[in-house]
Symmetry: C2
Subunit: 378 residues, 2 copies
């Protein structure tokens, strides 16, 4: 197969490296404006008009011009494989339809789970079993920060600075630490596992930005581990979906997911709970999942979902669970939500009665500096 790569950053150069090790795979052209080289072009038309190129891997990230390029690739009747979660989360419906119309492939394994072969396993589970729930730790940067806080006793700022120094966190870490990256991956997983189209604005999404040593101390004291988790569940026609910090029992599999690792899972009617762990980002792991998708296209796969997904409103009323909350002493909190209050010097720590993510997330947005985390019992 003769392919092109859009973008020669970390992941793109990984794809180029792994492709060179793969029989029957040739990278003919690479789109890159920042430098020149034998295969490199800065003109997208060179790639789109090259009839020998049958598949294009997009590793640029960002919505523009990745979206415009995706459209051009698919309209040129070339297969499109991407690692771009933002692109698939925001423009998936249109790209699926365009791929279907042009009878070419649109695959995006590397966009959820990085190197973990999760989405393809989930796809087959949806086709042959009934996927009832899915989720996991889908962002390595936040896991690195939380693990450093819990294992090494670092403060949030120290752990974030260290993640930035190591190249795991961006200078502006918002999309990681505010849970947006995790939320986009959840949109992809719901598409693949449920054939459900959900939109980012509907998903209660909380990140780890307000985590302090007080929260970690409470986790340790109660023999729990703090992780940023995505969760979605099908209840008949209703679909719950949310992203939030979660306090898990120290014996949970998620607790063993250390450093920048990811852990994605699904639950099938027949299969039960299936978990997948590994590198959720990084040059070669992410590239390896792109190369897997390329092989799947060669084997005949064209999509990871139905061509058109069913739009689903999010209904989190059935997903009620208790929360841990830390708020300033002076902040008001609805007494009927309190299960127990833990006395501290400066702030109020609370474990709540079971609440829906919708009501909890909304209430907490009104309290500056507050932190909250779902509590998973088992």
């Amino acid at each position: 197969m003769v392919i092109a790569i859009l973008g020669m950053g970390t992941v793109g150069s990984g794809v180029n490296e792994l492709a060179a090790r793969t029989p029957n795979l040739k990278v003919k052209k690479i789109l890159e404006k920042r430098f020149t080289g034998p295969q490199i072009t800065d003109n997208m038309e060179d790639i789109v008009s090259d009839e020998e190129i049958t598949l294009v891997c997009e590793t640029m990230g960002g919505l523009h011009p990745a979206y415009e390029f995706a459209v051009r690739v698919l309209e040129a009747k070339k297969h499109f494989v991407t690692a771009n979660k933002l692109l698939v989360a925001e423009k998936g419906a249109e790209l699926r339809a365009l791929a279907e119309k042009n009878n070419v492939a649109f695959l995006y394994s590397a966009a959820c789970g990085g190197g973990i072969p999760y989405l393809q396993a989930l796809r087959l589970a949806h086709e042959t079993d009934e996927v009832t729930a899915l989720g996991g730790i889908l962002n390595g940067t936040t896991n690195l920060i939380l693990d450093a806080m819990q294992t090494d006793g670092q403060s949030y700022d120290e752990a974030l600075a260290e993640a930035q120094r190591l190249g795991y966190a961006e200078k502006d870490p918002s999309s990681d630490v505010d849970g947006l990256d995790t939320m986009r991956k959840l949109i992809l997983a719901c598409a693949v596992g449920f054939d459900a189209e959900i939109t980012s604005a509907d998903i209660p999404t909380a990140g780890i930005r307000n985590t302090t040593v007080a929260d970690i101390a409470y986790a340790k004291k109660t023999n729990r581990v703090l992780r940023l988790c995505a969760f979605a569940e099908k209840n008949g026609d209703a679909l719950s979906a949310y992203v939030e910090p979660t306090l898990l029992p120290a014996s949970a599999q998620e607790a063993s997911i250390i450093k920048n690792l990811n852990y994605a899972w699904y639950e099938g009617y027949g299969a039960g709970h299936m978990g997948f762990s590994g590198q959720g980002a990084g040059k070669l792991p992410t590239a390896s999942n792109i190369i897997r998708d390329v092989a799947c296209v060669a084997a005949g796969q064209r999509s990871m979902t139905q061509p058109a997904l069913a739009p689903h409103a999010i209904d989190n009323t059935a997903a009620r669970h208790p929360y841990y909350v830390r708020i300033p002493k002076e902040a008001a909190f609805r007494t009927e939500w309190i299960d127990k209050t833990i006395a501290t010097d400066g702030e109020t720590l609370i474990e709540t009665v079971p609440l829906s993510p919708a009501e909890m997330h909304t209430a907490m947005k009104a309290i500056p500096g507050a932190f909250f985390a779902g509590i998973r019992k088992g």
Copy 2:
């Protein structure tokens, strides 16, 4: 697709149940001698000669008559999907050749990992990446016993009796507790991940039969967890492979694999360490992996390996690692192997210098009642 099932035991009835939920899949005949019913026949010829049946699932277990039936199915040019690890471990080479010759499929995902979609993920890793090592906790019964000993403080006999009472362990538990079942699954994983043919007699295999509360106490004291693990690694042309109880750091992912769960992993040049956890046995999980294989056949897949594998001798010299050893006070132990001795009243506990599995397993067979476990540091 119209299929038949050989054997209506636990897994066979699971396949029948899940097939009824799957569009475009019809179970036309079931081979079963113990009872009658609408689809049931006790005559294999009814299935082999039925031209409408294009695929046969074997869920009988055991080598005979499963092997003879497999040959008849493949010679009748029908696809063959099996959950039978003994059959694939012992007769894989012949059945692969027969399937290839008759241009039909021979798949066996459910034979390693039960419900976990491990072998298919491993197959694609081998095709698109370079698998460098693989292994895991591949037997749920022994994990249930070890977890009960470590978590609930049961003795080996109590934990085994409980596993038998719950239906997880056979009346004669030898193939589980002596590591044979794990070893057979390792043979399958080496076939799929390395295209390597290895034979059971060559694989150092130790089980958990001699585990006592003293071993668990030592694991706890050193903040470790005891699991029965398979391991294989490619070093150039050499292949190491062994099965043994293993002391793992309490923070290892394997330590979070509780009850009868399994955890299979591989390491890829590009992908890094990828782990897969879930139900390694049981009616519906195992059946779900069979149904996945059936869908893969429908999508065009014909095999999980090259048609003919390269025979590999096992060379464990590069797999040297320290061991924990417990032997009777009066037993002799080579002093140059001792790293440290832990004083106890009745028995001698030792941590050794790094040793190869071959020399360790051989030496320990000569000491009745001895127990040993590999020590994994990281």
